[in-house]
Symmetry: C2
Subunit: 209 residues, 2 copies
């Protein structure tokens, strides 16, 4: 039981979801957790600021070690609990290279097309084109790897942990196959944002791409 | 000699500089390299697109393994050459957590205040305020660690490799001390962008912050 860990999170936040999937994959259930309400501004509380001076979530602690950035938390959990649960960074160089490459392509490219606070209609056309081009690239990656593949090959890796929460729901043929593969995975199923089950992506102006 | 590695790069690109520092720190000199001219659009050539379909640099290959994202390349080099050169990810949990945390704080927070292609004067005030707040945080981190510290403590880590190219030149007291510590480091000195030596930050509208 991971009683020396604490996660403060939002439901429906991809960065929070990543940390929750990683915790499940590493068999680190039983951590302390606190679900906050973004709309009430609860993430600007002193409790959060004490862990994360930027007042953002996730806020994650393992003992006295603070890891508020989702990629940092995932890499740390893999490194500290390497032989526990799923091995998330492959040891063989080709698979390891692809895992790291896809992890950061996901972060950089998908972030560029979803800039926070920039969802004005004026920029929507630009985002729409960029997102379409980007999703076609990911379709191509999955097509090349073959049916039933994860993002870095035959095994579930940290690339899936961090990228799935961003691309899961996009309606492209191979991404849809990938979605089907991951939605039944226990770590993903357990941590699926409850508000997405109720009103899936209701707020997403780019949801039809 | 790292003759099985190829790096295509721009001078003055923080992501390219990161990979070059990591290669130096891991004693991987002698790699094949090609310096391109951004203004001539040379990064949209077929040679680059064959490695990086987004036509961005760095484009980096180790044998057949492709790592175009600077963080991916740095993590891969550390993992594949762990016992060679400088150990860039500390093994002890507290130092490791801080290294990962600072690596991604650098990526996320500093990126948010330097959005590419968004340097219009209209958004300059907002960026200026955000950057000032952000740099004050980093000043505080360095102050807490004490004089002569690197970003994650007493040792040079991957946090320095990836964050230094973004914050090096900012004129804050502790950041200036940190700059003084790193500018004489062989890996940093060897890879310092030549055009920055000639016209340091001439293009940076936020340089006076």
């Amino acid at each position: 039981m991971a009683t020396d860990m604490t996660l403060i999170w939002f439901s429906g936040s991809p960065p929070c979801w990543r940390v929750m999937i990683a915790l499940e994959e590493k068999n680190l259930q039983g951590y302390n957790q606190k679900l906050l309400d973004f709309l009430k501004g609860e993430h600007k509380s002193q409790e959060v600021l004490d862990i994360n001076p930027r007042g953002q979530l996730p806020a994650f602690k393992h003992g006295n070690n603070i890891l508020n950035e989702s990629y940092a938390a995932c890499l740390y959990l893999e490194e500290q609990f390497k032989s526990q649960g799923t091995r998330l960074i492959p040891m063989a160089a080709p698979e390891q290279a692809l895992t790291y490459q896809r992890m950061f392509e996901g972060e950089n490219a998908l972030r560029d097309v979803f800039p926070e606070g920039e969802r004005h209609d004026s920029s929507l056309k630009r985002h729409r084109e960029a997102l379409t081009a980007e999703l076609k690239l990911w379709e191509g990656y999955l097509e090349k790897l073959g049916a039933g593949s994860y993002l870095a090959g035959k095994n579930f890796t940290l690339a899936d942990v961090v990228v799935f929460p961003c691309i899961a729901y996009k309606n492209y043929p191979r991404l849809a196959g990938y979605y089907g593969l991951l939605k039944e995975r226990p770590s993903v199923k357990t941590s699926w944002p409850k508000n997405w089950l109720e009103t899936p992506q209701a707020e997403d102006k780019l949801k039809d791409i």
